[in-house]
Amino acid sequence: MSPGQTGAAAVGALTVACAASLFVGQGSLFDPDLRPILLDLRGSRTTCAALAGAALAAGGVVAQGLFRNPLADPGVIGTTAGAVFGGQTLLIALAAGGSLLPPWLAPELVLPLGCVAGALLALAAVLTVASRLSDGTAVLLAGVLIGSLFIAMGSFLTSIAQNSFELGRALLSFTLGGVEGAGWRQATLAAPLVAAGLWGAWRWSRALDALLAGEDEARTLGVPVSQARAGCVLWTAWLTAAATAIAGAIGFVGLVAPHVIRRLIGASHRTLLPVSAIAGAAMTVSCDVIARVIPAQGVIPLGVITGLVGAPLFIWLLLAQQRKAQQ
């Protein structure tokens, strides 16, 4: 399939997913009394899911280019865990000194800053370890371990925050993630963040194409490698943080969407990045619809559905990569 055809198919899938998201759930959209409320609730929820999915998929594309490894999902390499930890830390700081914020500055407006700082910290740690490892699988393992470290630190923060009911609940809700409570305020905040992240990441797409041949070749082709790496790290952290600030920890979207699109249109980042972002949005909205139709007592977190889809695929990819390396 050509990039244009694949892009059109991804847009089609996103349109269908968004339509399903507006119609599926308790209460009918055909009820004139419920329609305005349902459109408002489901519209903002769908928008937030689409934005988070687009950001995660684009972050996945950049991370995979940066590490030259198609398995480098922001969730797998610890970036999402870092962003969650950063967000948790900021929530605690706001609880302790929130009154210092000016009245016009709502806490959710500064939450992404904490997420960006946490994601940058995690990525810097993984890159430092990766610079001493030559094996791609070992780099991923280091990412998983650093992610576990950030999850453990986040759990520690959550447990010590249980003294305050409000703070404990806020931290737990943020950690579990999901878009069921997302409103237009979050969507309005997230849209420019994700748009800036997509634009910033796309500007490095040529450099990422050159880096597919390794740093030495990229440098001789004119790529300022250190700048490109720093830019890619920044935008990966930015996109992951934007998605985490909207929807909490959602795994595997950054792995599945780029993988499927790469198989269809190849590895050129100029097309892979935007088409994967659309596919990631379609995937996340679809998973949110699935979460709504599964009969359950409470709400099934979005991350559970993306994990159920993504984890088996990740294992399959890992085995396929191992087979390729042995050939």
């Binding site: 194409d209 390794g214 070749e217 440098r219 001789t220 082709l221 004119g222 190849g266 590895a267 050129s268």
Partner: protein, 246 residues
């Protein structure tokens, strides 16, 4: 002098001296072959010129120092590695487009011209990993040409190629030099030096032993102390490229 001039190039890596005060010239419009045994410092010299290893010394191209910035440097000097690490699923024109990283728009005519120059226009839409070794070598050369550099550093152009493909590639490199480029090649196959090069530099243990026309350098007198082998001339069969079916 026009062309590439390397003066007092010294490289130390891990406390070991790899290149000692190397001086050499690669005249414009000619193919210069760098030969020498393994460990002579040929690849390190190329990497030092490209700014990939820390080095002391001066590199001039047509009398001007090479720019420090990667983007500006790529516009004047290009590298064709022996084997690219590129194994990603890119089309041929996407690979060549990477060579235009530091070029101004429009890039499409440059890509098409570079592919035509290496007779690979028909490969433009093929996937790079699916190409044969000879085809990949031509595409990597097109990637180097697309940037418009006037000096080409080519590491082992004939490696992994069968005789016909090797001769076709040599013919292409000679025509590039004929059009005014400075072409510098590392060669291991000494039988190919006369066929490809106008100028030859013999290296040993990080130093230039001698330089000059291939006929003067490829001699028992020069090669015996460096390679530790004797040499008889006129024994190797000569082949000519009669058609390029690539």
């Amino acid at each position: 002098m026009s062309g590439l001039v390397i003066e007092h190039m010294t490289v130390q890596l891990g406390g070991r001296s790899i290149l000692h005060e190397v001086n050499m010239q690669a005249p414009r419009g000619q193919v210069t072959a760098i030969i020498g045994p393994n460990g002579a410092g040929k690849s390190t010299l190329m990497r030092a010129v490209l700014g990939l290893v820390p080095a002391r010394g001066t590199v001039l191209l047509d009398g001007m120092p090479l720019p420090d910035r990667a983007e500006a440097r790529a516009q004047v000097i290009a590298w064709v590695p022996q084997r690219s690490r590129l194994d990603a699923d890119l089309s041929v024109d996407e690979v060549v487009a990477v060579g235009c990283y530091s070029c101004q728009e429009p890039r499409a005519p440059r890509i098409a011209a570079a592919l035509t120059q290496v007779a690979a226009g028909s490969l433009a839409q093929r996937r790079f990993p699916s190409l044969s070794g000879g085809e990949q070598a031509r595409v990597l050369l097109a990637r180097a040409l697309a940037g418009g550099a006037r000096c080409l550093l080519v590491d082992e152009p004939g490696a992994h190629l069968d005789l016909a493909h090797r001769l076709a590639l040599y013919s292409l490199l000679r025509s590039l030099a004929g059009n005014g480029a400075s072409v510098v090649c590392i060669l291991h196959e000494l039988n190919d030096v006369n066929r490809l090069a106008d100028h030859c530099v013999l290296m040993h243990a990080g130093r230039v032993v001698t330089a000059g026309p291939p006929a003067a350098v490829i001699s028992d007198h020069e090669l015996r102390p460096v390679f530790g082998i004797g040499m008889r001339t006129g024994m190797a069969p000569l082949f000519d490229l009669v058609e390029t079916s690539t």
